[in-house]
Structures are given as C-alpha cells and as structure tokens.
Amino acid sequence: MSTPESPRPMIDLRHVSKWYGPFQVLKDCTTKVEKGEVVVVCGPSGSGKSTLIKAVNGLEPFQEGEIVVNGISVGDPKTNLPKLRACIGMVFQNFELFPHMSITDNLTIGQVKVLGRTREQALEKGLKLLDRVGLLSQKDKYPGQLSGGQQQRVAIARALSMDPIAMLFDEPTSALDPEMINEVLDVMVQLAREGMTMMVVTHEMGFARKVAHRVVFMDHGQIVEDCTKDEFFGTARSERAQAFLSKILHH
C-alpha cells in the first residue's frame, strides 16, 4: 500500500452525480486515487464506469458533487480545463489515434501545440517513448497500418509524451482481439510498477490482481465496492460483485 504524501489525494471524487435528462448515470459516487496508487474500476456494462473516468478530466460534465485533481476542481467553470487535461494522460477504448497523422506526428502534436515544446524536443521524447513500447520501427507509418494492439501501445506512448502526473485508462483492451491484449497489459503493468498514478476501467482481473492497490466495483451508476485488492478478491462482500466476478472469471 502506498502512503499519501500530500494531504489531498491526486484524484478526489466526492458525491458525484450525473443525469442524462431524467436518467441518472452516476449516483453519489465518492472515491479517490492517491499519488502512486493504481485503482481498477470494474463493473457490468452500462454501470457508469466509463462516464465516471471521463468525468475525472472533464470530458463528461456532471451536475452534482466535486472532483478535485491535483488540487484543481474539475467542475469549476473558472478552471482552465485544457491546462488540467494536459497533465493527465488518457487512453481510450478505441485508441483514438489521429488517422490523418503519422505515428510520429501523433506523438508530437500535443507536445508542440499544447506544451509549446520545440519540434526537436518533442521528436526526441516521442521516439524514446515509442521505443519503450517496442514500436520504434513503425514511426513513419499511419495508424491505419498498425494492428489494434500496436495502435493502443502508441496511444499510451502519446499520453506519456505529455509527462502526465496521472493516467486514466478507459477499457484499454476491450476493443482488441484476444491475442493482442497482453502486449498492451504488459506496458501497463510496467508503468504501474514504476509508480505511475493510474485509474483503470477494465475487465482484466489478472491485471487487477497483479498491480492494483484498490478495486472499485460499480453497478447501476453507484459505487458498490471500494476496497483493497486483497479484500476484493478474498471476500467480495456484495452479491452483485460476487455475481459479476463469477461471470468474468469463467470466461
């Protein structure tokens, strides 16, 4: 377990609620991610976990409650959201590399346009990270020419190129063919072991067992379980979590 170094957690969600019209997708969600902590969020589809993680960097607005990231309130209209997002990496289910740009340009565009780095600095950093995810040889290709697993590794490198203080993963392996899942998980495990603060929405319980500190279980827009990994896999208390686990683990 990590011990909090700052008085406030890196990511702090308090009583967050969100509605789409009359339909409530998030119900009074409270949880946190300490610096250096890896938190896995799981739950059945439609449980609101993707919405929750997108609320953390302000991609999904919410109506009630408060989310504070690195001391900055996300819901505050005065907050400079682009500036906040620039220091939080995000990895999407469908990779979302920019298809009209080469891999190199995908890795440098944010650094140059948002962080104001020179093209040379950005290129050096980007290629170093591309090498780290094992894809340096693909630097001049376009996203459409890579496999799904390769695209997702590039997407992780792109997020890391911004020197994020925390990383958000929104079902990073669910759009992948089974044989490509591990190459992506390996990169994520390595990142976790280096001490990156991570919030990960995933069904990969193997990943959770390996590196997670805490597991959050969601259902119908509510946080049902929020406990340490050992507690979750040992004696998952709610029936819903047990039902979910037995379904997932049988696959």
Binding site: L59, L81, P82, I88, F92, N94, E96, F98, I109, V114
Partner: protein, 227 residues
Amino acid sequence: MTEFDWGVIWKYREALWDGMLTSLKLFAIALTGGIFFGTLLAMARLSHWKAVSAPAAGFVNLIRAIPFIMAIFWFYFLTPMIVSKFTGQQGEAVGPFTSAVVAFIMVESAYYSEIVRAGIQSIPRGQPSAAYALGMNYWQSMGHVVLPQAFRNMLPVMLTQAVILFQDTSLVYVVALKDFLGAASKAGQLTGRIVELYLFVAVVFLVICLAASWGVKRLQASLAVTR
C-alpha cells in the same frame, strides 16, 4: 433556318475573355469565402450554446429557402446601404461587383455550411475527446484533428458543389454584371448573332464542367481505394 456566322465569336474574343475572367474571379472569391464562412457557420450550428447555434441555423435556413436570384437582389440592395452606414459615405461606395461578391459569399457559405456540418458529424466523437484529453482547446481540436479529417471526407462533395457554383456565377447576369454570359449577351445584342454566341457559351460551360466533374469522379475513385 438562318445561316450561322461563327466569325462573330472571334471578333468579340476580347470581350468574351474579359467576361470569362470576371466569372472566374467571382467564382474564386465566392468559393474561398463560401468555404471559410461556411465552416464557421457549421461550427456555430454545432455549438452547445443556443445563442450561437440558433442564429446560424436561422441564417442558413433562410438563405436556402429563397431563390439564388432573390438572394442576389437582397444583398445587391443591402450591401451598399450597410457599407455607407458604417463608412458614412454616400452612393457609389461599393460597386456592383463588390455587391455581387457579397451576395455569392453569403449564399455559398449557407450551402457549404451544410456540407461541412455533415463532414464534422461524420468524425467519431472519440477524436475530439482524444484531442481534449491531450489538453487541446476547442480551436486546436477543430484545427488539428476534426477539420482536417472532415475536409478529407467531404472533398468530393465540396468539389461537386464548386462545379455547381461555377455554373451559378452566370446568375450575376440579373444585376447586369458583365460575366461570360453577360459579355456574350451584349455582343449578341450588338450583332444580332445571339444564336452563335449562346451556343458558344453553352459549349464552353459544358466542356469545363464535364472535365471538372470527370476529375472529381476520378478523385473519388482513388479516395475510395486508399480508404
């Protein structure tokens, strides 16, 4: 049947060429302006703020509901009035060509905004999300991520609309501007040879527009292969 005298076209070649240049100038300005303002209008229409999207939608729907010629008359009437109100100058502050240019830019921006709007909506929502997640603001996300992809998708439709626009430039005839058709018409009145001159105009437009549409089709086919 009257005898044809095709020499009249050679005799009036300079006037016809000047007319064609006027048509091309009007076409180029209207195309650039139409795409530029059309893109802004499309972005406004897709805005979350009603105060921005409603006026844009109103303008586009209004222009699309009235005939092109009616719109030309409107801006031909309004432009000098508005300009003189701002500059304080009276009367001849703007010439007929400027008024025609304003009319064409306004009408084309309404037409192009519909094309651009469809283009923007064809981009998956995850793309702007990914741009925002990298810390880009609205304009960066539009400029670097959404619009380059949207423009690529809608290139064939935009070029087809450009061919239509080139044909529509002949409508400035109604405000007595000497474009290609206007020049031919004038020469026809002077010589009584309207048959030869109008047939010539038709053939020239046909050749240019056929070649352009053929080019668009080729481009479309090659885009379909690379995708």
